[in-house]
């Protein structure tokens, strides 16, 4: 059953322009909460995550281990397994051809199957796990292609597989290879080609280049950008490497302890990070060319989500914290397209010394 979504959604979604420009959005995530059900209290790995993804956009999601970014990915693609359960929120996918919007949280397995590959696909970190080790590459492509286009003959599917491999710089005759016969970088490129096989509108990439070297990483990303220009798909790109996202993504969401703490364009986040965590994360990457100065990183360690801190989850590590940060949970508030969840930027809550001086002095 496809859940119909009224076009005039009246979600009070903090600051996204979702309600207006339904045409321009491919995905609207609202209040998404994912919990891991355990014997004790449920562990909330994603809490109240709200964002929109525009058509053809690359949205980067950056966070440390345990920030909930992988949980978010599996929830978006409905690949999550118990004990992870989506307990609240919606993920509304809007097809390009003007078809009915689908809420991926409540969609039936049948409706999901119709969406997979053709509308929504995923690239995983380890291509070796994503490809079938006992099938030739071409057969895997043909399998996906023919499942979604029953009229496609086997030979035509293999020919298409060779074409697709060529788009990521792998010669077409490698379609007869098994995955283990390819290098790590080639495997990862093949799995990207496979994800794009059925022309999806949305590709979710979970650390696709973490396991490859920097030179190969650069090649893969250049190819993704070029293919996006010709095919027009949108990307959710999850990684822990903010320095990479700053170069690659159009907009970036920073996650901390299961929440989006800041969301803005790459240049906004680099030039003017508003959340102290974003600032600390940005300053955790030594520059390659700019003059060196002593960097301190962020003191402390990421929180244990089984025992999340009260109030703002970042307050125990925050140098700019002030009275009330340990009790009040800041909401994600948008100003001019740049969203931040920090009380320093909430005029009703911030203390007398202006936020500029307190954050500026912190680093």
């Amino acid at each position: 059953m496809v859940t119909q979504i009224m076009s005039d959604t009246d979600h009070d979604d903090a600051g996204t322009t979702a309600a207006r420009g339904a045409d321009g959005d491919v995905l609207r995530v609202t209040g998404l909460t994912v919990e891991y059900v355990t014997d004790g209290d449920p562990v909330r790995a994603c809490a109240d995550v709200t964002f929109t993804l525009r058509r053809g956009e690359i949205l980067g999601v950056a966070g440390e281990s345990g920030s909930g970014k992988s949980t978010l990915i599996t929830a978006l693609t409905r690949l999550q397994r118990p004990p992870a359960v989506t307990t609240a929120g919606s993920i509304v996918f809007q097809p390009r051809d003007g078809g009915a919007a689908v809420d991926l949280v409540t969609a039936s397995p049948r409706a999901l199957r119709a969406l997979r590959w053709t509308s929504l696909s995923i690239v995983l970190q380890s291509a070796m796990d994503a490809l079938n080790p006992v099938m030739r590459l071409g057969a895997q492509f043909a399998d996906a292609l023919r499942t979604h286009d029953r009229s496609l003959g086997n030979d035509a599917a293999w020919a298409r597989a060779a074409e697709l491999l060529a788009t990521v710089g792998i010669s077409g005759d490698r379609a007869r290879s098994y995955p283990h016969e390819l290098s790590g970088g080639m495997r990862q490129r093949a799995s990207i080609a496979l994800a794009l096989a059925c022309g999806p509108e949305l590709v979710v990439m979970d650390e696709p280049t973490t396991a490859v070297d920097v030179v190969m990483q650069r090649q893969i990303l250049a190819q993704v950008l070029r293919l996006r220009r010709t095919l027009g798909f949108a990307v959710v790109f999850v990684t822990h490497d903010l320095s990479l996202l700053l170069e690659l993504a159009d907009r970036i969401a920073i996650m901390y302890a299961g929440r989006i703490v800041e969301l803005g364009t790459a240049s906004e986040l680099y030039d003017d990070p508003r959340h102290p965590y974003t600032r600390g994360l940005r300053d955790s990457f030594p520059p390659l060319r700019a003059p060196l100065r002593r960097l301190t990183g962020i003191p402390g360690t990421p929180p244990d989500l089984r025992r999340p801190p009260s109030g703002c989850p970042f307050h125990p590590r925050c140098a700019a914290r002030f009275e009330g940060c340990d009790t009040h949970l800041p909401e994600l508030v948008t100003k001019g397209g740049h969203a931040v969840a920090c009380r320093l930027h909430d005029p009703t809550q911030r203390p007398q010394p202006a936020p500029g001086t307190s954050t500026g002095g912190a680093r």
Binding site: V214, V215, E247, R282, R294
Partner: protein
């Protein structure tokens, strides 16, 4: 080159004394492997590597996976015997008996591995993990003395208050805390050389800096000679004094870090630096970088059957005939810089 005005962690240390603490001279390591059908082949993991570590200085060894960085570290740590060439500790050639060095060698040279989850005994508390080297290498006896030494070690790696950590099991610590324990254990033997094999790669981004600053402190305060192995050039630049670049088992370029990064002289170094993420890069440079035809860049070669001549020639945009047949010799470029590339050999001959 960018002059650092604020004392950055890697401000040049004391001038290098003449005798390196640890030195590898023309070290080669081949591994013999057997394929599934029993055919023997030789993996040429490290070929003719020369490297010197000085007191109070950090050398970064950068390169892609499979370039031989870790093999070289393990050679220096005495885990492997070199196929040819020699390793010298304070000018004395290290001898191996039945593939092992003497225990005394490990008292001077310690190694920290990438994975802090695999390098601590999970069945023992932090205290035990730190007491073992104290007992084995220094013969420390007596509860009170052991306690004092363990407390000192934990304080040096900033695991304070120490009583919170000393009785913990490794699984109760975070990755960063574990790596600190690993470093503390290496420091327990009071080594002269610390080899770090990607010591921060598995740690969370926000705590990597603390680890780099800790390594820097060990260098400045204790005068350790450090080898920092990494694939992350930006972090190498932050910590080290000199950079050595490895490609396919060979060292291709080396020199003071700022010069090597700002003005690479080997085509591979240039490729590596340009491929590294740099958020400070301008938007236009960025577009050009991603637009550039990256398909033809190829991949590192197999070390079983490496390319003839210069091992980089199949990927090199400047490859000449001589590159395909003869391995380039090392060319000194002045100011402690050198590169192994025919391009420089040619220009020198012309002069």
């Amino acid at each position: 080159m960018t002059a650092t005005t604020v004392p950055a962690p890697s401000a040049p240390g004391a001038p290098a004394p003449d005798t390196p603490v640890l030195e590898a001279v023309d070290v080669t390591k081949h591994f013999e492997v057997r394929s599934a059908v029993g055919a023997r082949s030789v993996v040429r993991a490290v070929e003719g590597a020369t490297l010197a570590l000085h007191r109070g200085r950090v050398v970064a060894l950068v390169g892609e996976s499979g370039s031989g960085k870790t093999t070289l570290a393990r050679l220096l740590a005495g885990f492997y015997a070199p196929t040819s060439g020699e390793i010298a500790l304070e000018g004395v050639t290290v001898r191996q008996r039945r593939g092992r060095v003497e225990r005394g060698y490990h008292k001077d040279v310690q190694i920290v591995f990438q994975d802090p989850f695999g390098s601590l005994n999970p069945l023992h508390r932090v205290r035990h993990n730190l007491e073992r080297p104290l007992k084995l290498h220094h013969g420390v006896r007596g509860r009170a003395e052991l306690d004092r030494r363990v407390r000192e070690l934990l304080e040096r790696v900033a695991l304070t208050p120490t009583e919170q950590f000393v009785d913990k099991f490794p699984h109760e610590l975070s990755g960063g805390q574990r790596q600190r324990v690993v470093i503390a254990r290496a420091l327990a033997v009071e080594p002269k050389v610390l080899l770090g094999d990607e010591p921060i790669s598995m740690l969370d981004v926000s705590i990597r800096l603390e680890m780099l600053n800790l390594l820097d402190r060990l260098r400045t305060e204790d005068g350790l000679a450090l080898l920092y192995i990494t694939h992350d050039i930006a972090s190498a630049r932050y910590l080290c004094d000199d950079i050595v670049v490895m490609y396919a088992g060979e060292m291709v370029e080396g020199g003071p870090k700022e010069q090597v990064i700002a003005d690479p002289q080997h085509p591979y170094t240039r490729l590596l630096v340009e491929s590294s993420p740099d958020p400070g890069r301008g938007a236009r440079d960025r577009a050009a970088l991603f637009d550039a035809d990256a398909d033809g860049l190829g991949e590192p070669p197999s070390l079983i059957d490496p390319p003839s001549g210069c091992r980089f020639h199949p990927r090199c945009p400047f490859a000449m005939d001589v590159c395909r047949t003869q391995a380039p010799p090392r060319t000194d470029l002045g100011d402690g810089r050198w590169a192994r590339c025919w391009l420089h050999q040619k220009t020198q001959e012309n002069e």
